[in-house]
Point group: C5
Chain length 356, copies 5
């Protein structure tokens, strides 16, 4: 949480519309531009480091997908934005890493902000990465916060080999493919969380300790995080479904509806997992107070039996000169009888109270 | 929960629209096609294992209901889908077992996904099974995840014997009958859960232990599960009621409204049961802390009475050479009087505090 | 809860639209038909046991109110339904006791399901009874689940004596009167619950025990039950207010609005009572843990004072041959001084900690 | 709560539309009619006890405000209602004290029900009083449940002296002034509650006792009560703002919007106060269990140190004939060394566990 | 909370529309008027203390921004209001410090109330300051509650130096800049709160004490406060986005949408922080009861081991004359063996119970 606030703050104190990179990825590395130009019959792929080469493809009738890995090179982004006639505010949002998933219609193009999530197994944490799409008639620009890998390799593969329908359709179908890959990826994370919950559940049923509570807390935070990333996505896709933007063809609608279903399903899963965690917390709290209760019973039974007996023993350990009982022949036997009777009576009393 | 995520994951890494069976039912068994062709005067029932025979019935003016038990034979499903001109995405959804209940209008046909629930008494668990319907003008295709039994035997019976109105009406009425049977079945499960809650309530009022808590937890999870299956059904039916799809005749509307009422009633019951469980949890937690309090009282009373007395006894058990009290004639008597007075005073004090 | 599920289950396995009585009232008793035919100048009241006599009144220009006590005689209900041209689904709902309050417009008549509640003082429980109304232009059919008394005797009285406006108005005004009587009755139950809450509150402030918790739980369940009965009534009346069914005259609207206000008020009361119960539960739980805390203090003070003293006494009760203190002249005095000083210091320590 | 139910019940069993006074104010006192007739240049004020004198003012072109203190004189209210052609249901509502704030448009006049609240410092309780307004073109009737004082004295003052705009505007502006005075009064009550919360907060931070909990409970109930009175007022005013009733002039709209803002602000304050109380309750519960924990620590430390020591002392207090240690020269010294070592070790153990 | 109620109360008892300053800022200081007049080519800045000089700028075709620091000089505010033909109710709201953020369209101008928040590090508290904007065609009036600094210095800087677009656009863009600066400032506060939460979290995981709870409580209150200030802002901006007021140009819409996104993001952050705090509270409460449980275990183990042993030692410390065991040669050895066996058995018992 505090991370997203911190990032925004970098920008405060600068003129509105100034480009400020608000992320924390390795800013040293150069940005890679991957340009893919294709139609049903044609396929070209180039790895560039300059914007100018890209702009040449702008007029082509074939479809151009430019993927930008890393958004920290402000000059490059600015140049690209100007080259494709992107509104200044959009360019600004591209390099600002704290955006909420959203979709805006600028007439000639749609601007879509998404979150790609990866699960860092070592840190046991969800790592977000911002993906922005600019969807035009003949071009799709995608910007990834991080220069490292993504979840789109299959789509690239299909483009190269011509598998599936992606080479036969427009930019909207390509955007759908990217969306679909992102959403499918959420389910991998959901499964990891589901597994953690199942493990935790088993631990809870056996012998829970303090660390279980911290894991519960960690899982709750991760689910909050996931919820925050997935929930606005619903709005994004229903925006695409609702709006008759000429950029989205009718034939793509069923596919978007399909992604929408998946997103709703992911939200459902998140909600149910949150409910399950809440119930587990209750179960945990209960089991602690139940065990405290059990411990108290043991303590009370022991104390209630032995305190009176110890008192009695103490009495006959007193050194008064005149204690007639001490000299009785069967005094010692008698006191044992009394003490055992008392103990047995106490045990009977607790049995009746159903404590033992 | 984790199960549904796992299933979805099977598909990741494949081209969009590839058919992937995501269930875990016995994939070895062959799929059974049960074809029923009828109108008011005519009735024919065939058990097939090939798609081609089905397609012949497509053009007939009479109504054809094809029930598919098991969806793991991808070739067969694909062929059937192509035979009835079903959209590729629908075919894909048919074999994907993680769908949420939904209804989609594809013009020529409606695609409806439902969940059939059965209560496994041995495991004390709700077992879901996905039922998909494709509702055309003259045909109804139903796909069941599992090849084993369903809740539709009565409908088949009515079709065979011509009881009821089902032979006199269209596919929409047949679909209503299936829906109605599914929803009626939810009430059987709700009753089982209601019975479990009643039993639990009685146990709670008597002597609750740790296992009660685990049963509460189990019931809560089952209700969450039920909620997840029933809630979207409301949308499905209100979609059918709202949309003037020519596939749903006006005369069927009152019946759908009736099912809708039942679904709302089932949701009501689920909600109330959840509220009751929440209240029972509170009652349980309370009763544990109340009993801890009672136990503490016993312990404190015993300790408060015997600790000072044991101290006194200890004092006169000391071996100082010069302890004048020890040689008093009535010293021993006196100390008994003091100790009894002290004990009685303590008891009086606790009585005044209303502890005993 | 489980009761309503059980009732529905009676019907499963029968053809849709089959009439099945799902209640548990004394099915032996014959059904009574009370027919009241009136207009401003005319009044006739008959007690019938056959349907045919009723049907004669169907054509009359005067208003006919037929009240049916008990709905377990399926033949009679079926005949009556056919006589008044009632839709089969409505007839089915009439004899099915698990309906949720609802209102349906069938053009020629409105079908309204309501719940009459009575408070059983012996069982301390709310007893529901289903009331169904069929409101036509010139007739009103009312069906009561139970053959025993209702809350409509005053309305009958006004009809007989011509008091109030009811003789001068249509069936819609009569239906309003019935609705109003039902809703007024809810307030009697609410008052009973309010009294129970007040009593419980006083008990809570004094000395709460385990039984208080069970009463709280009981009240919560009754409020849940009431909520379930009253909440859908709001929809029913707003349906009547919204719909310009020709069966509801404009002059009746203000009266319906009045009933609507009462229902909203009843819902308000239920909600507030639920909030108060929740707060009382918190108060109760708190007071238990507060008292546990107080008890712990007493225990700890006693133990902290007497344990070290008993230890000291124990030390000088040891039988070592060489214990120089034992032979000091003022050893015994000294040990008393030490012990008293220690005790006083402990008391001072606890006073400073504000424990005493 | 139970009070409002009780009042409604007084009416049950009477014909609909019968006038029944449901309040509990001193019914002996005569009702006072205060008539104020004014326009920009003219002002007349009369104190009446008969309705007839009022009716004369009905036709006058100047504005007439009739304030009725006390609504228990049913004859008078009925006569007044008939004189001003008020719908029977309205008259009925006027004398029924359990109304929820509401606004109804009867064409010629608006009927508004409001709640005036006063804070009874002695009982530490909010006292509600029902105010009903009937707003016509040239007349405003206001009915107060109680014959004692109200919060409108300033408005009367402005009318008398001609200060402000009220003499220059219509009845709608006068109604606005009354509304504004009522809403301003809510803030006085909110401040009192705010002060109580601040005081409670300080007590909580210092040394909370059982009574704090009861005060929390009391405050929660008062806020519930306030919420119930203020929340429907929002609907009332937005009803006035929405409806283009000719009785509300456009120039009055900004004033109503202003009152609306105040009501929303009051609701905000109530909600925030409820949230703060909920948080305080958590804080309180926590602080009790935290203190229990601290007390337990003290007890356990004392017991863990002195129980083994007392045991050791007990061992050497045994009277066995053959106990070689007893006759060792440094036996006594040794046992002291052992005991002190044991005690120090225990203290070290607790320090390591961070208990001390 | 109580502060805002108190302020409102100052006004009660005065005629509606009377100007009453409800703040508590240093009322002695004179109000400063800062007038900035600019267009693309021209820039003029004046510091005034009289209203008359301002009014001269009213007719100018260039844009005039008048910033008023402090609103306690009622005469000045009134004069300014009259000079710019501001509705009396607006002027009243300007000097009333308890306004909720809102936006009202008065045709010729928009009236916007906002809250500027600053974080007082010493008091660890959010300090609100009310900012009101009156947005006309050619003028923008801004009123600040406090005469001290604000967050607009950068905007002034851009106006002076001509950086950014602000000199080239209308008053609506200027208003956007102010809004943007305010909202950006919220993120600074959110970051401070986020840091506090992170710190608290670490403390919680280590060794929590009573003060942690108070900090949690403090943070919860601050978040409530922030929520109250930010939430209505959403309505304000969506009001501006929705309404086609001619005062807001189409070219400004994307900028407003941008601010809207930021506000939604701030609300998201607040909600998530509230959820995290709630989870932390649960974690805290759990960890206290878990530690109580651990402490109880230690106590019970010690007591259960040493109480029986001490009792045994007590028995053989009794002074009965006839205690045969005392004279056994190996009696002392035997009793040690018995006691050690008993202790070991107890330890084994607790190990089996998994207490140690």
């Amino acid at each position: 949480m505090s991370r997203s606030s911190k990032r925004r703050i970098k920008k405060i104190g600068l003129p509105a519309e100034s480009l400020v990179y608000t992320g924390d990825k390795k800013e040293k590395n150069p940005i890679n531009l991957t340009l893919i130009n294709y139609d049903a019959t044609h396929y070209e792929e180039r790895l560039l480091q300059q914007v100018d080469a890209c702009l040449l493809y702008k007029q082509k009738p074939t479809i151009t997908w430019i993927n930008v890995d890393g958004v920290h090179d402000l000059n490059l982004i600015e140049k690209l934005g100007e080259g494709f006639a992107i509104h200044r505010l959009v360019t600004e949002d591209l390099v600002s890493i704290v955006q909420r998933p959203k979709c805006e219609d600028y007439g000639d193009y749609l601007f879509i902000v998404l979150k790609m999530l990866t699960y860092d197994a070592r840190q046991n944490k969800i790592i977000p990465e911002q993906i922005s799409l600019i969807l035009g008639q003949k071009f799709l620009l995608s910007f990834q916060e991080d220069i490292q890998g993504d979840v789109f390799h299959l789509i690239r593969d299909h483009l190269r080999t011509g598998k599936g329908k992606v080479r036969h359709r427009g930019t909207d179908y390509l955007a759908y493919c990217l969306l679909d890959a992102l959403v499918d990826n959420y389910f991998i994370i959901l499964e990891k969380i589901g597994d953690s919950i199942d493990t935790l559940e088993e631990v809870l049923m056996r012998q829970p300790g303090q660390d279980v509570m911290e894991q519960l807390y960690q899982l709750k935070r991760e689910l909050l995080f996931l919820h925050k990333a997935v929930w606005p996505l619903r709005e994004v896709i229903s925006f695409l479904l609702r709006r008759e933007s000429s950029l989205i063809q009718d034939s793509t609608m069923p596919y978007l509806r399909d992604v929408y279903d998946h997103v709703v399903q992911a939200i459902d899963s998140i909600e149910i997992n949150r409910d399950i965690l809440a119930t587990m917390l209750d179960l945990y709290l209960f089991s602690v107070s139940y065990r405290t209760n059990e411990i108290m019973k043991v303590l009370t039974i022991i104390a209630t039996i032995f305190m009176p007996l110890t008192f009695l023993a103490g009495v006959y350990g007193m050194n008064f000169e005149h204690m007639p009982e001490l000299s009785w022949q069967y005094g010692y036997l008698l006191i044992w009888i009394i003490m055992i009777t008392l103990g047995v009576f106490m045990l009977y009393f607790f049995r009746k109270k159903k404590w033992i």
